[in-house]
Amino acid sequence: MIPLQAMAIALVAVFAPLVVFTRDIVRLTMAASLYAFSLVVLFLIFQAPDVALSELVVGAVAFPLVIVVAIVMQRGG
């Protein structure tokens, strides 16, 4: 196991509890996007460019938008 893979695995292992333990939901959007980017790095290091591209576009565009709109709707504007 080369150090690059170990580092990517450690990065993902650190970001996952970060997402779960974030209380404020506005910060949760940012944390979810960061977790998605760390997953993209892991997928690239595992030699899977198609999967990394998929996770990148979804984690950058679709997922944060849906969460942000849900938050705005909850607060009533």
Binding site: M1, P49, D50, L53, S54, V57, V58, A60, V61, A62, L65, V66, V69, A70, V72, M73, G76, G77
Partner: protein, 245 residues
């Protein structure tokens, strides 16, 4: 069941679950030591059989095309579910004006939107050749149109993506996949058999019916995500206007 009891129960049962999962993981081959026959065989024959250099795309749209059709139907159904839940009777009421006033944001959004449109079409078209395909390019295309909302106003975005046409595009995409399979069935070959000529490996038209199914998927995914954005943004504008309580 209050919260402390629930978390305590989870702690106990997760110990058992962890033990089971670790036992299962110990039975897997070591990392990097892959020796199954299906993947090895496909790596050897896919390029020479289908003339598509992206083996993953040829598996998604040809060798396991039936599973992809199932996934597209999941996408279709969940978007239909969102539309059913959030599409109240809203016709006739006007939308609030919420244009973005910053010039810099508008200019950057305009430049990026055009670039993203071309990038999305490029990624869909080069699916059978390089990493990409209908799923990734479809989400990029929907992001290109969403930038009109982000850097402009909701009204321009709604005018750009009228709901009847987006509905039609999504139905065409999912239906195109199914029709491609049915055409093969009518001729006498199995469902979703690859019928068209294969072409040269490395060219945009290689792979037989893979580009056809690829573009149908791209259309379906773009339209599905545009519908999702439509529903959520319409709800938001109504909440802001105070018509929702």
């Amino acid at each position: 069941m209050n919260r402390r009891l629930r978390i305590g129960l989870f702690g106990i049962s997760s110990a058992g679950l962890t033990a089971l999962m670790l036992w299962a993981v110990a039975g897997l081959p070591a990392f990097g030591d892959y020796h199954h026959r299906y993947g090895t065989l496909l790596k050897k024959v896919a390029v020479s059989e289908r003339h598509a250099t992206n083996v993953v795309t040829s598996i998604v749209f040809d060798y396991r095309g039936f599973d992809t059709m199932g996934e597209e139907l999941i996408l279709f159904t969940s978007v239909m579910g969102v539309a059913l839940l959030l599409r109240d009777v809203r016709e006739g009421a006007d939308r609030p004006r919420d244009a973005v006033v910053s010039d810099a944001l508008g200019l950057v959004g305009l430049a990026f939107s055009a670039g993203l449109l071309v990038l999305g079409l490029y990624v869909i078209a080069h699916g059978p050749i390089t990493p990409g395909g209908g799923f990734q390019g479809g989400v990029i295309l929907s992001a290109a149109l969403l930038l009109v909302w982000l850097a402009g106003s909701l009204r321009s975005y709604m005018r750009l993506t009228p709901t009847p046409y987006v509905d039609l595009t999504e139905g065409t995409g999912v239906g195109g996949f199914v029709v491609t399979g049915l055409v093969a069935l009518l001729i006498g070959t199995p469902f979703l058999h690859n019928l068209l000529p294969y072409g040269l490996a490395g060219k945009l038209s290689s792979g037989g019916s893979i580009p056809v199914v690829n573009w149908a998927t791209g259309l379906a995914v773009t339209a599905a995500f545009l519908l999702l954005y439509n529903e959520f943004l319409e709800e938001r504008s109504f909440v802001i206007a105070g018509k929702h309580k």
